[in-house]
């Protein structure tokens, strides 16, 4: 997989995206993000994002081992992720349409 680019730079969005398919603890989130983007977030970056998301009520911490506490996407988190991904999809579609038109005329 190609190295990640700046559009994948928002750790908060990456964490939300990773939790879209179910609850995970920090280590599993880091693994998942590395698998999807080719870049593993550092623990400071990852937990900075987790802390902000939890404080904003976008994810919820579940009961579990203090060293590997699982997190789950909240209702608000799911809505925010949906809006962000829809915006990205619209932007990507617009860019791809432009590229297709450019390639057709060249």
């Amino acid at each position: 997989m190609a190295r990640s680019s700046s559009r994948w730079a928002d750790p908060g969005l990456l964490v939300l995206g990773s939790l879209a398919d179910g609850e995970k603890h920090g280590y599993a989130i880091a693994e998942d993000i590395e698998q999807r983007t080719g870049r593993r977030p550092g623990p400071g970056t990852l937990y900075g994002a987790i802390a902000r998301l939890e404080q904003d009520g976008l994810i919820t911490a579940l009961e579990g081992d203090a060293r590997r506490r699982p997190y789950r996407l909240s209702g608000d988190g799911a809505r925010v992720l949906q809006a962000e991904l829809s915006g990205m999809r619209a932007f990507a579609n617009h860019g791809l349409r432009g590229l297709r038109g450019r390639m057709a005329t060249s």
Partner: protein
């Protein structure tokens, strides 16, 4: 885990460590020191896990205390750069009122910090002494020992000449720096361990200290701009480096106190 990662983990705010420390330590590896240092700096600016008013107050008191210790060291370094020897025009012209504001805010900040800090310290130390709560008292012991050593060393500084004198001054300066570091960290750890419920008044005092830190940072930044073409490259770096630390410390205090003074 590397020593750097260990150190970086220790630098996170107490409330943050309490909430995420175990998880973070479990995930941190040898090469994560730099990422953890940046994370710790961000955690001080965005204290998470501090949703309750009580937790935000404790976090703000700790942040202002540590920030003011940084202000103290940066202020002394700035003073050395501009006043040893004094730069031409330091206390005249445009620099003069800024010099006066810097001195006033520095001493007023210390006054407020001692006023608020002593009260809190006594509320932590006396109950802990009464029940011999060593986990609370222990973090403050190094600062107390260093304070005695630094004060006791003052009369000895002028007694020796040449190499012995230089060594004595260097040792005394090292002890002084250690005192600032332990004086910054010790009371913060003791406050967290004591579980003391901080009232609104100490936060208002901390806000006063923060205003002084902002005034000091603004005055020194403006003065550095006035004096910038009168210093050599070495002192230029020291002068502006200390201004950056002053501004960062004042900004960190402002953010933390602002959160603590919010009612919800």
């Amino acid at each position: 885990m590397s020593r750097l990662a260990d150190l970086a983990l220790a630098c996170y705010p107490p409330s943050w460590k309490e909430r995420y420390g175990d998880e973070l330590a479990d995930l941190a590896g040898d090469g994560d020191g730099a990422d953890l240092i940046v994370g710790a700096a961000r955690a001080w600016l965005h204290p998470a896990g501090t949703r309750t008013i009580a937790a935000r107050r404790q976090s703000a008191i700790s942040t202002v205390h540590v920030s003011w210790c940084a202000v103290f060291v940066a202020g002394l370094v700035y003073l050395k750069a501009v006043n040893d020897p004094p730069l031409p025009g330091l206390t005249t012209g445009a620099s003069q009122p800024l010099w006066a504001v810097a001195k006033l805010t520095f001493f007023a900040g210390w006054g407020l910090l001692l006023l608020g800090g002593t009260g809190l310290l006594l509320r932590i130390a006396f109950p802990a002494l009464r029940v011999r709560n060593w986990p609370v008292l222990r973090p403050m012991v190094p600062a107390a020992v260093l304070l005695v050593a630094v004060l006791g060393g003052i009369p000895l500084l002028g007694r020796y000449d040449n190499a012995a004198g230089v060594t004595a001054v260097l040792v005394w300066l090292a002890l002084g720096l250690a005192l600032v570091v332990m004086g910054a960290v010790g009371p913060v750890v003791a406050l967290r361990r004591s579980g003391l419920s901080v009232a609104r008044w100490p936060v208002v005092v901390a806000a006063g200290v923060t205003v002084m830190a902002v005034g000091l940072a603004a005055a020194t930044a403006a003065q550095a701009a006035v004096l910038t073409d009168r210093v050599d490259a070495y002192n230029f770096t020291i002068m502006w480096g200390s201004v950056v630390v002053l501004v960062a410390a004042a900004a960190t205090s402002t953010v933390s106190v602002g959160r603590a003074l919010r009612r919800s």
